[in-house]
Symmetry: C2
Subunit: 216 residues, 2 copies
């Protein structure tokens, strides 16, 4: 049973790096120290394996993001905590929380449908955060959320080790995405914020949790 966890982690890494189609059952098996056919003692099929990894990764990610957000109540602080944690997950993944929620291009159509449904569900976390932000009225919250999530989810394809830490990158993203509405245009902008410390503890309840599921 612990062996199975090993296999899932090995497969997750390969799927994340090469995509569904370009990752072979035999390669997964080899890294697990067994023959290709033997893998089927542990899994039912390649498709089922992929779906299971994806589900578990998203569940783990949801738990981590919610935990990271929990101590904060101010909308921007919640967003920053969520972004920092998402970057951490994407770039320095613990066991199964790997960046496989992208790159569905080579996944069979029927499987893709299942994955997308699960992913949409996960992203409601960010819908709630974004809906709670005091953004300028001209800014479309759906586009805002989609763009932000795209950046976070594909972090492994654009982030290069070196220059900046994950926390600094998260702060930079926040600097770009931070726009105050006309009501509360407080201190912002060129303060050179690179440290992610939980500032401004305002009141504001967690999130209104609205309904909206239309595509862009």
């Amino acid at each position: 049973m612990e062996r199975r966890q090993e296999i899932l982690e090995i497969a997750a890494k390969l799927f994340a790096e090469y995509g569904y189609k370009a990752t072979s059952i035999r390669e997964i098996a080899e890294r697990a120290g067994m023959m290709g056919g033997s893998l089927y003692y542990h899994i039912r099929s390649k498709e089922a394996l992929f779906i299971e990894i994806h589900d578990r990764a998203l569940d783990a990610a949801a738990r981590r993001v919610r935990t990271a957000m929990a101590p904060h109540t101010a909308p921007w602080a919640r967003l920053e905590a969520a972004c920092t944690e998402m970057l951490e997950i994407q770039l320095n993944p613990g066991s199964l929380t790997l960046p496989i929620m992208n790159n569905f291009r080579s996944v069979p159509e029927e499987v893709k449908t299942i994955l997308v449904r699960k992913r949409d569900q996960f992203e409601t976390i960010f819908r709630d955060i974004v809906d709670a932000l005091p953004l300028p009225p001209g800014m479309d919250r759906q586009i805002y959320r989609i763009l932000l999530l795209r950046l976070l989810n594909t972090a492994d394809t654009w982030y290069h080790e070196g220059r900046m830490s994950r926390t600094e990158i998260a702060a930079q993203i926040l600097t770009i995405f931070r726009h105050e509405g006309p009501a509360a245009t407080g201190a912002r902008g060129s303060k050179g914020r690179t440290k992610s410390t939980p500032k401004e503890k305002e009141e504001k309840p967690p999130a209104p949790a609205r309904k909206r599921r239309v595509a862009a």
Copy 2:
């Protein structure tokens, strides 16, 4: 010779949709109305085909973006023109300017090296634009450019037909990425800008064209 162009376009579409590995020579051939083996009268190898498509697409994209920027001199107007054109290229590609500059996951390592070099060269266009923007001092221009390009280049994976037009989406991106430096904090923000009309014709020379090629 015109037959060859047809083949390149067919292959480009398939590569863009399924990725390198998941696109088979036989599928390309079938759509071109011939047998798999016959394709080799027109191409040298699958790898060579992919590289040629990629090169031509980037060349065409560079030409289109430069042309779209040409009439503008104001930094933000230039950025908006470039973004709008990039979205147009990614979402409504004319012949060969297809969104294949991503999804290198299943591409052989040696080929990937060639592609990345070419892509980096293309992206210098945006480096010049971004370097000319009057951004707040705390904002890292390299991160800024990388994030913006990621969004534009992966537009086909997050844009869904309907609600908003390409131009409106481009305007929304600009609304998020627009931050004035401390020197020229003029009118901005909640004006509900959804139309992309070339406003503010300032002076400011095209671009300083600095040097910087470090990874994040």
